[in-house]
């Protein structure tokens, strides 16, 4: 890693955690077998939140994953880098809150689809991203 390159942990304070306002949706989607754990759902929710532009308006109040757990899934900070490029000049605290808000938006989107159809069509999500 050269002097300009950074990994995900570098964007956040040591020991920081991402929180959620939709913990019950996490439990239900994981119990239904669509996702194996919180980090997988958080990351998918984050991606869907960003591509659909959906942010949750609720206050995230329940810790959901540690930053270093998140970083093991996204070591080069794809999502932090994306959000920093799109929102130039934001602080690291603001970045963390933005990620939580998009992730909750994305999880809500998945949950609604699951409630409507009892299914989540992942191929549909890919088609949605292509649009």
């Amino acid at each position: 890693m050269n002097q300009h390159e950074r990994r995900t942990e570098d964007y956040f304070e040591n020991g920081e955690r991402f929180a959620t306002s939709v913990k019950e949706m996490y439990d239900e989607l994981e119990n239904a077998g669509f996702f194996k754990n919180h980090p997988q759902l958080f990351l998918t929710g984050l991606a869907i939140g960003i591509i659909t532009g959906r942010k949750s308006g609720k206050q995230a109040d329940t810790d959901i994953i540690k930053v270093d757990t998140y970083a093991s899934s996204d070591p080069y900070g794809v999502f932090p880098v994306y959000l920093l490029a799109e929102n130039e000049g934001i602080t690291q605290k603001e970045l963390a809150r933005l990620m939580e808000s998009y992730a909750d938006g994305g999880v809500e989107y998945l949950y609604e689809e699951y409630k409507d159809t009892s299914e989540i069509d992942f191929s549909d999500l890919l088609r949605l991203a292509k649009k």
Partner: protein, 662 residues
């Protein structure tokens, strides 16, 4: 502590060095008498002793008690020595303590010959025991004779009366100080403070975490859930056993059907098709599993197109104008310019002209400003660099999910299965329509069995899901219990600390409650004895120290309501009290008194002279020459003396001198 010598140099009226030696004392002769006229230098010698032991603070305290002018160290230096520009003042004390020879030297070290203020001098102290210099001399002296306690060993006869005043605050403080009560009370207060702290920590931990009752109820809930899981597993086993029986029964009937010549061919085909369906089902499960595993990469594939757009816009906006690159370039430029300026040689090898130097310096400052601005910006916000963007993009390019391929494979397999099922149904219908009664019966039986099997499978699946949910819940609650219980060792350790602290607090409380009354009793006994010896009035038989530390004299009919005595009587009562106090204090130190006989009538002086040897193993008395005592009393005192010194003041030289006269 027993003084063996004092050397005074340039202290007060004592110009130059003056040496006083206290020889070994006989048991009967323990008094050292210093006599001099008023203003000869007796009090100065007294102050020299106090200054050597406790420095300027000790002198200030003593002069405060005696209402004398408070003196700083600089005011104590001999005027003549100061005028001559040699203001080197020193007092050396030589004494025996616990069988060891000790030397204490306090010295003024002038920073310049002519001294005007405290800033012009330094004061040094050294303390040696058996020839070895020790660290922290002030603390060592405090261990031998604390400053608070010293007021009962070094006192002015005129001023001691205050101890005899009823409920005197000074008496209370004095008593507590000499018994070390403030130290014990401070220790107790500290312990109480620590205990309050520990209590607060325990309460904090308990408030922030679930209560023991909560944890117990969770444990009970887990036990109930585990029992439920056990029951469900039992039920699953029974359902599976039923399923296995039904499947076996269906298999048997199918075999019987297959062996019937008329439907044999159809039954074989059905069997073959069922195997194909089973195999396809397994493939579908495998593909779905693969799809689930690919979900880790899904978010990166989902974001890829959007990422490309945003990053490309960002790069377009910034171009290669990466803020860190600019900083890096500026740093190189700065280093180059600084080298040029430092070596005085420009890039072509020519010397830099003086006139060019200021221009280079301006460019250096400019570079530094720009770097500072970038640093300030980077400290506030985060701006991704080109490298970060490229690394992140390279990472997501490597991520792929072939959901469509998997979906198409699943769809193909499902289509095949649908066709197989259709064919199976057609063949079964064919078998049914064979119009053979037995075949029809068996077919109906197979249908019933298949319906039962299907229901059983659904029921098993429902029960398995319930069991898995319950197991997950149990795991979660167990994790919470483990986390909550992990606080218990911390609480236990704090409770242990609290118990130890409480023991110490109780011990200190015990000392305060027991030691003080016991010591008070000792003081009362010793003081009463001294009072009876010194005071001839038979109306008072002893001294009582009240709970509020007021002193009362005891008469033959009980102790008086309020003690009111003459100034002389007060002095006798106070001296008795001091005598009691010094004995109860378990400290061995010389008693040094000034103007002890001043206010007393002849009768009391006699009794004090007689009692003096019992004050301490060394008593140093400063007395006005040809004053305070009658000739016969002076003679009586001399007989008890180990040695006698005369202090004289020379008007011409305005200095004092000390001479041993016996």
């Amino acid at each position: 502590m027993r003084l063996t010598g004092i050397t005074v140099q340039n202290f007060g009226p004592y110009y130059g060095k003056h040496v006083i030696k206290f020889d070994k004392i006989d048991a009967d002769r323990r008094i050292w008498l210093f006599q001099g006229l008023t203003g000869a230098g007796k009090t100065s010698l007294f102050l020299a002793l106090i200054w050597a032991l406790y420095g300027e603070d000790g002198v200030k305290e003593f002069t405060k008690r005696t209402n004398a002018e408070r003196r700083r160290t600089i005011d104590l230096i001999c005027k003549k020595a100061k005028d001559e520009g040699r203001p080197n003042m020193a007092v050396e004390l030589y004494f025996e303590h616990q069988g060891e020879n000790c030397t204490l030297i306090r010295r003024v070290v002038p920073k310049r010959p002519q001294i005007q203020s405290t800033q012009d001098i330094d004061v040094t102290v050294s303390f040696s025991r058996s020839g070895t210099e020790e660290e922290f001399p002030e603390e060592k002296i405090s261990e031998i004779l604390p400053r608070d306690a010293s007021q009962f060993f070094f006192f002015d006869g005129e001023q001691v009366r205050r101890y005899a005043e009823p409920s005197s605050n000074e008496t209370k403080e004095a008593l507590e100080n000499i018994l070390g009560i403030p130290v014990i009370k401070a220790a107790r207060d500290n312990i109480q403070y620590v205990l309050t702290d520990i209590n607060r920590d325990i309460t904090d931990i308990k408030n922030k975490n679930p209560s023991d009752e909560d944890i117990a109820s969770w444990i009970r809930a887990v036990q109930i859930k585990e029992l439920e899981v056990k029951n469900i597993e039992e039920k699953i086993r029974s359902l599976k056993s039923e399923l296995s029986t039904k499947e076996q029964e269906r298999e048997d009937i199918s075999s019987r059907l297959a062996n019937m010549e008329v439907v044999k061919l159809s039954m074989e085909k059905i069997k073959h098709l069922e195997n194909l369906v089973k195999s396809n089902d397994e493939s579908i499960d495998y593909e779905r599993q693969k799809k689930r595993e690919l979900r880790d990469d899904l978010p990166f594939v989902l974001i890829r197109d959007s990422f490309e757009t945003v990053i490309s816009n960002f790069k377009q906006k910034r171009g290669e104008d990466d803020i860190r690159k600019i900083k890096y370039t500026l740093e190189i430029k700065l280093k180059f310019l600084e080298d040029v300026l430092k070596n005085g040689i420009c890039i072509c090898g020519n010397s830099v002209y003086e006139a060019e130097k200021s221009a280079i310096q301006t460019r250096i400052d400019d570079c530094k400003n720009q770097i500072r601005n970038i640093d300030q910006k980077l400290a506030v916000v985060t701006i991704p660099s080109s490298e970060e963007l490229n690394t992140a993009y390279a990472f997501i390019v490597g991520k792929k999910v072939n959901f469509e391929e998997i979906d198409s494979r699943i769809a193909k397999l499902e289509l095949e299965n649908a066709n197989y099922q259709k064919e199976i149904k057609r063949l079964r219908d064919e078998v049914k329509s064979s119009n053979i009664e037995e075949v029809a019966k068996l077919e109906i039986k197979i249908e019933e069995l298949e319906s039962d099997i299907s229901n059983l499978k659904v029921e098993i699946s429902v029960q398995q899901r319930q069991r898995d949910d319950d197991i997950r819940t149990i795991e979660k609650v167990k994790t919470s219990i483990a986390r909550a219980q992990s606080y218990s060792p911390i609480v236990n350790s704090l409770l242990e600390q609290w118990r130890y602290g409480e023991k110490i607090e109780n011990a200190l409380e015990y000392i305060i409650n027991k030691l003080i009354p016991e010591k008070k009793k000792l003081i009362e006994i010793a003081a009463s004895e001294a009072l009876r010896n010194m005071l001839r009035k038979s109306m008072w038989t002893g001294i009582k120290i009240e709970d509020d530390f007021g002193i009362r004299t005891i008469s033959q009919v009980g102790y008086s309501d309020d003690y009111v005595g003459s100034a002389g009587e007060n002095e006798i009562v106070a001296l008795s009290f001091i005598l009691g106090l010094t004995r109860a204090a378990d400290r061995e130190a010389p008693i040094v008194t000034d103007f002890l006989f001043g206010r007393l009538d002849e009768e009391y002086r006699d009794s004090i002279i007689e009692t003096l040897p019992s004050f301490s193993n060394q008593v140093i008395v400063f007395k006005i020459q040809n004053g305070e005592l009658t000739d016969s009393q002076t003679e009586k005192l001399r007989k008890l003396c180990a040695g006698e010194f005369e202090i004289k003041y020379d008007e011409n030289t305005q200095t004092s001198s000390i001479r041993r006269i016996s």
